[in-house]
C-alpha cells in the first residue's frame, strides 16, 4: 500500500515524466518561455473547462470537450508564435502540437470526481503555473550551463564560458530531470518524516 510519504513524490515524478518532452525541447530560455506559454494556454483552457462544466455533464463528454478546447487553443497560440518569430515556430512547431496530448494536460481535462475536488479546482490552475515555471527554469538552467550566458535575441549575442556543454543535449536534460527528481524525493521524505 502506498503511504503519504511516497505518494507526494510519486505524483510529482509522474508529472515531471509527463512534461519530459517539453523539458527536453527547452534547451534555451527563449524556447523554454515559448514552450511554457503553449503549455500554460492548453493546460489552463483544459482545466478551466473541466471545472466550469456542470457535474450533470457525462464525464466522457466533459473530457472530450476540454481536450478539444485545449487543441483548438494551441492552434491559436502557435499561429501567434509563428507571426512573432517564424523561425522559432519552425524549430518548435512539432513539439508545440504534442502539448494537448501531454499527461498533465490530459489529466486536468478529466472532470473532478466530487464537489470537494471541484472546490479545490483552483489548485489545478496554480499547478499549471508551477509547471510552466518549471519549463522556463529548465530552459534557463540548460542555456546557462551549456553556454555560460543567457541571450534573449539574435541581436544581442551573449558571451560566456560553457560550464556543462552537455546540458543543451537531450541527454543533459534527462540528467537534470534525474537530479531534480532525486531532490524532490529527498526533500519530500525529509518534510514528511514521521515524528518519533
Amino acid at each position: 500500500m502506498i503511504n503519504e510519504r511516497d505518494r507526494v513524490p510519486g505524483v510529482l515524478l509522474a508529472t515531471l515524466a509527463g512534461l519530459a518532452p517539453l523539458l527536453v525541447a527547452a534547451d534555451d530560455l527563449v524556447k523554454g518561455v515559448s514552450l511554457a506559454g503553449g503549455f500554460l494556454v492548453a493546460y489552463t483552457v483544459s482545466a478551466t473547462l473541466a471545472l466550469l462544466l456542470p457535474a450533470r455533464v457525462p464525464p466522457i463528454r466533459a473530457f472530450a470537450l476540454a481536450a478539444l478546447a485545449a487543441a483548438a487553443s494551441m492552434t491559436l497560440y502557435t499561429s501567434i508564435l509563428r507571426i512573432v518569430d517564424p523561425v522559432l515556430f519552425e524549430l518548435l512547431g512539432r513539439r508545440l502540437f504534442i502539448v494537448p496530448f501531454l499527461g498533465p494536460v490530459i489529466s486536468v481535462a478529466l472532470a473532478p470526481k466530487n464537489e470537494a475536488a471541484r472546490d479545490r479546482g483552483w489548485e489545478r490552475l496554480i499547478g499549471g503555473l508551477g509547471f510552466a515555471l518549471a519549463i522556463c527554469l529548465m530552459g534557463f538552467m540548460r542555456e546557462l550551463l551549456s553556454s555560460g550566458a543567457i541571450s534573449i535575441d539574435l541581436a544581442g549575442q551573449a558571451l560566456g564560458r560553457p560550464i556543462l556543454p552537455i546540458a543543451s543535449q537531450p541527454s543533459g536534460a534527462l540528467i537534470l530531470i534525474g537530479l531534480v527528481s532525486a531532490a524532490i524525493v529527498a526533500v519530500s521524505r525529509a518534510v514528511l518524516r514521521p515524528s518519533p
Binding site: D27, D28, V30, L49, L53, P54, R56, V57, R61, L65, L68, A69, A72, S73, M74, T75, L76, T78, S79, I80, R82, I83, P86, V87, F89, E90, L91, E143, S146, S147, G148, A149, S151, D153, L154, A155, Q157, A158, L159, G160, P162, P165, I166, S168, Q169
Partner: protein
C-alpha cells in the same frame, strides 16, 4: 416515433465556443502562414519579396527556400549547436553550387558560433577561412547542411524538368 431529448444548454454553448475557437485557429494559422512566408522572403532576399516565392522544406538544418524570377534559390538554414543556434542564408547557383552565404544571426557569442559563422561566410568565395581546431567539430555540420541543400536543389531542378 423518435424521441429527441433536449440537449443540455451548457454543452451546446461549450461546443459552439470550441467551434468558434477552432475556426479562429484555422483562420489565424492561414494568416500566420502567409505572413511568415513574406517574412522569410524579406529575410532571405531583401527588396525582392514581391518576385520571390517561399517554400517550406523542414529537412534537417534546412528550413526552406525562396526562388526568385531568375530561378535562383536561396536556402534558410538553422544549425543548432550546444548552447544556441545559428541562422544563415545560402544562395545556390543554377548548377547547384553554393554561390554565396550570409549569416543572419546567432544566439551565442561563443567561439564555436563565431567560427561557424566564419566557415559559412566563406562558402562560395575564393577567400581562405584559415584553420581552427574547432573545424573538426563544425565542418561536418556545414557539410551536412550543404548536402541537404544539394539534394533539395536537385529535386527542385528535376521537378522543373518534368513539368
Amino acid at each position: 416515433m423518435i424521441n429527441f431529448r433536449k440537449p443540455d444548454a451548457s454543452l451546446v454553448v461549450t461546443t459552439a465556443v470550441i467551434f468558434v475557437l477552432a475556426l479562429a485557429g484555422a483562420l489565424s494559422s492561414r494568416y500566420a502562414s502567409r505572413l511568415s512566408s513574406a517574412d522569410f522572403n524579406t529575410l532571405l532576399a531583401p527588396g525582392s519579396n514581391a518576385s520571390s516565392t517561399w517554400e517550406l522544406l523542414r529537412e534537417g538544418p534546412v528550413v526552406g527556400r525562396t526562388v526568385n524570377l531568375e530561378n535562383v534559390a536561396t536556402y534558410l538554414i538553422v544549425i543548432s549547436l550546444s548552447g544556441g543556434t545559428l541562422r544563415a542564408a545560402i544562395v545556390v547557383g543554377k548548377d547547384g553550387e553554393t554561390r554565396s552565404a550570409r549569416v543572419l544571426g546567432s544566439s551565442s557569442g561563443m567561439p564555436y558560433f563565431k567560427r561557424l559563422g566564419v566557415l559559412i561566410q566563406g562558402l562560395g568565395t575564393a577567400q581562405s577561412v584559415g584553420y581552427s581546431p574547432l573545424d573538426s567539430v563544425l565542418e561536418p555540420l556545414v557539410r551536412n547542411a550543404l548536402d541537404t541543400i544539394a539534394r533539395a536543389e536537385r529535386d527542385r531542378r528535376d521537378a522543373l524538368h518534368d513539368k
